[in-house]
Amino acid sequence: MKRLGFIVNPVAGIGGKVGLKGSDGETILKKALELGAVRESGRKALVTMKLLKEVESELEIYTWPGEMGEDVCREAGLQATVLGEIIKGHTTPEDTIRAAQMMKELKLDLILFVGGDGTARNIMDAVGTEAVVLGIPAGCKIHSGVYALNPKTAGQLMTQFVQGKVRETKLAEVMDIDEEKFREGVVQARLYGYLQIPNETKMVQNLKSGRGFSETVSIEMLSNYVADEMQDDVLYIVGTGSTTASIMKKLNLPNTLLGVDVVYNRQVIASDCTEKELLEIIPRYDKVKIIVTVIGGQGYVFGRGNQQISAEVIKRVGKENIIIAASKNKILSLFGSSLHVDTGNEEVNQMLCGYYRVIVGYGDIMMLPMSD
């Protein structure tokens, strides 16, 4: 029996079809509705919930009233316990946060939510990495890695989860898009944080050569490797991200998930540093290296969540002292394209272009191009 939470952001993706990007903000929402936009997210969610009907007997569903989940459940023919209260037609991000918080307190097995990047951020604010969640995509610009590919695959993954076929979880990125800039046609996503989602490790029979490793093992192995290869009397600037967090864990060191920490001889000497603090620390050491991972779906090494490691910091440390580590699956998802860098400084971006050794496992390295 699995206890499932279900939250719908009824206004997610509402702007898309009428040519508006995103739907955050009351003004935009009002404008969209004036233009005749229809609330789409409920319909998308229905696809997923109908698939769950088949495993209904193994499910206990908890949801929020009306357009925030109750309606979809009813339409899908699913029994659900309705929690909380809303003002119909005037739901806000706070409602999403309240719903997720209550579901976290109920210690549900998984919280399924429908929405876009904004919704993902709301869920994250509410539960952090303390609950397992999964997103059904219904926004029109999804950069966060917490979403299934589409409502149908969400349903398939959920079915497998309910049947106990998917047991692993992994950390997925929640991205923060600058909405204003986006409406001007500029995509600038920043790492906002992480959510824990089910990790489907597809068992592909491969009888001639074995198989690849899962995310967890890849990160385990590369963390061991980076930790083993760390040298004495070298200052390490450790960037943001769950992969670098894993490395710090291997070293038994405290870590700021969304901040930059500095390590020397296996001790943390400064946490959650600003650019200024980094620039002050660096000159005190002969040898300095940077350890970073890859953020976001486009493979950004600098510029999407570790702004503290600025162009200036990078210039002082030097291109040859940059260590990049990321899970094999992450790197393979970039196959066909390259790593990217956006420090905000053209010159430094140019300098950073070229080939890099990316650590993806123990003694396992992939050679990737970096472009700006």
Partner: protein, 463 residues
């Protein structure tokens, strides 16, 4: 292509009309257009210096048979060689199954179209597990030597320790394979043995065991021709030191000898060859590794493991690959192995053999062999100049000491050829402490007349 007048029976599309149709379909004049992308300086411009092709099958048969006729074989000679490849009887049913194109020419298909192969290999693993007393067994590796080597690395991963202790009198060729495979991280050291009994020196074992020992390996039967009487004790001594124990066995001996799992071994390894495979100049090998069905052990197999799986058809035995993702107990993924094409077909041969023999067959086989071996040792010891240097009972293989004859093993073996006898393996270079000794092997294929022929020949030669 030079002007060949015929279409090769194995290359149907070389038929000119067909070839032209295909070239037309791809819009090319000749195959050269496919190769045109290869830079000129990378092209091979010469001709391969090979003999003219023997295009008639009959002519080729005469040629190859002519070469094979130059080999002295165990059908027209009495062969007393063993030690890793043995001369056992191969039942006709085994040959029949081995010759079938289905098993012979399939490869890596999934169980949907190759269901039979999966079931046959599953049964093979099952029966090997019965013999050794375990519940997990791999799909075969290259040979016994590689089985030991792979199991050593499995032990390393399970325990996190990097030292292997092996019996000092294990087969030296197997030891060479193990040493190479254990590099660079693992250290292989040998444990002393008693010259007269062949048994492992338990004091030396205890002295060499440390908290870095992953595994202790010994063979039973012992290569130089004894039975490891202290098997259980070796396993328990290893266990006390926190090490695992591994025994190399002759699977055909397990009808009468105790199952390794029962006396405390953690792994049993060995060769499939004596289970229905012709000697074939060392081709008939296959390595098995049996161990416990616990994730600390089974999870470390690098090889494919075939397990039972349900299918949409109720009651059908489906198969799939059992996969347990290692979560790095040893926290280091160095010593990661590789898997590839090994000796699957031999696993199937072994399955057929084991099914034919059954428990009664193995019991009678083993009983008969130890009887014949005891008899031969007794009779040989009567010949002046010949002694049996290692005491105790033997299974198939045993050492014969010719030092008293004043002749070298080389000379004696050469002389034995006159009698159409292939004498035992010359050990003088391998275990010099035994001087001019040879490793002889007697199995169920040796009749009393065969054995008498040996006694008579040796009597004459050594006089």
């Amino acid at each position: 292509m030079s002007g060949k007048q015929f279409v090769h029976p194995y290359i149907p599309n070389s038929e000119p009309v067909v070839k032209k149709q295909m070239l037309d379909a791809v819009g090319m004049e000749s195959v050269e257009e496919i190769y045109k992308g290869i830079p000129d300086h990378l092209r091979f411009k010469g001709t391969m210096e090979l003999p003219d092709p023997i295009i008639s099958e009959y002519t080729c048969q005469r040629h190859v048979e002519g070469l094979l006729a130059q080999n002295r074989n165990a059908k027209s000679n009495i062969c007393f060689l063993g030690g890793g490849t043995w001369n056992h009887y191969v039942p006709s049913v085994v040959d029949t199954i081995m010759e079938r194109d289905e098993f012979l020419t399939c490869y890596v298909g999934d169980a949907y179209t190759d269901h039979g192969k999966f079931q046959a290999l599953f049964e093979s693993s099952s029966m090997l597990a019965d013999l050794t007393g375990f519940e997990a067994c791999n799909t075969p590796t290259y040979d016994w030597a590689n089985a030991i080597a792979i199991a050593c690395r499995m032990a390393e991963r399970t325990t996190g320790r990097k030292e292997i202790l092996v019996a000092g009198n294990m087969d030296p060729d197997r030891l060479l394979v193990v040493r190479n495979y254990c590099k660079p991280e693992m250290v292989v050291n040998t444990v002393a043995y008693d010259k007269e009994t062949g048994l492992m020196d338990l004091e030396d074992l205890k002295a060499k065991l440390s908290d870095q020992t992953a595994c202790v390996y010994f063979e039973n039967p012992i290569y130089i021709g004894a039975l490891e009487v202290n098997a259980a004790e070796i396993c328990s001594i290893a266990k006390e030191a926190g090490a695992l124990s591994m025994v190399g066995v002759d699977p055909t001996s397990l009808g009468i000898l105790e199952a390794p799992a029962a006396y405390g071994a953690d792994y049993a390894v060995g060769d499939l060859q004596p289970l229905g495979l012709h000697m074939s100049y060392g081709a008939g090998l296959g390595g098995f590794i049996c161990t416990k069905d616990e994730k600390e052990f089974l999870g470390e197999y690098p090889s494919l493991l075939f397990g039972v799986c349900e299918t949409q058809q109720e009651g059908e035995y489906g198969f799939g690959e059992v996969y347990y993702e290692r979560t790095s107990y040893a926290s280091r993924e160095k010593g990661k192995d590789f898997i590839g094409t090994t000796t699957a077909l031999h696993g199937i041969a072994a399955a057929v053999y084991m099914a034919l023999m059954g428990p009664q067959g193995f019991k009678e086989l083993g009983e008969g062999i130890v009887q014949r071996v005891a008899y031969v040792k007794e009779e040989l010891a009567k010949i002046p100049g010949i002694t049996i240097p290692v005491s105790g009972y033997s299974y198939c293989d045993f050492m014969v000491d010719f030092n008293g004859t004043g002749k070298t093993v080389k000379e004696i073996n050469k002389a034995l050829l006159e009698y159409n006898i292939l004498g035992g393996k010359d050990i003088s270079g391998i275990f010099p402490e035994y001087g001019q000794s040879a490793l002889y092997s007697v199995t169920e294929v040796h009749t009393k007349e065969d054995l008498q022929a040996l006694f008579d020949a040796l009597k004459a030669i050594c006089a």
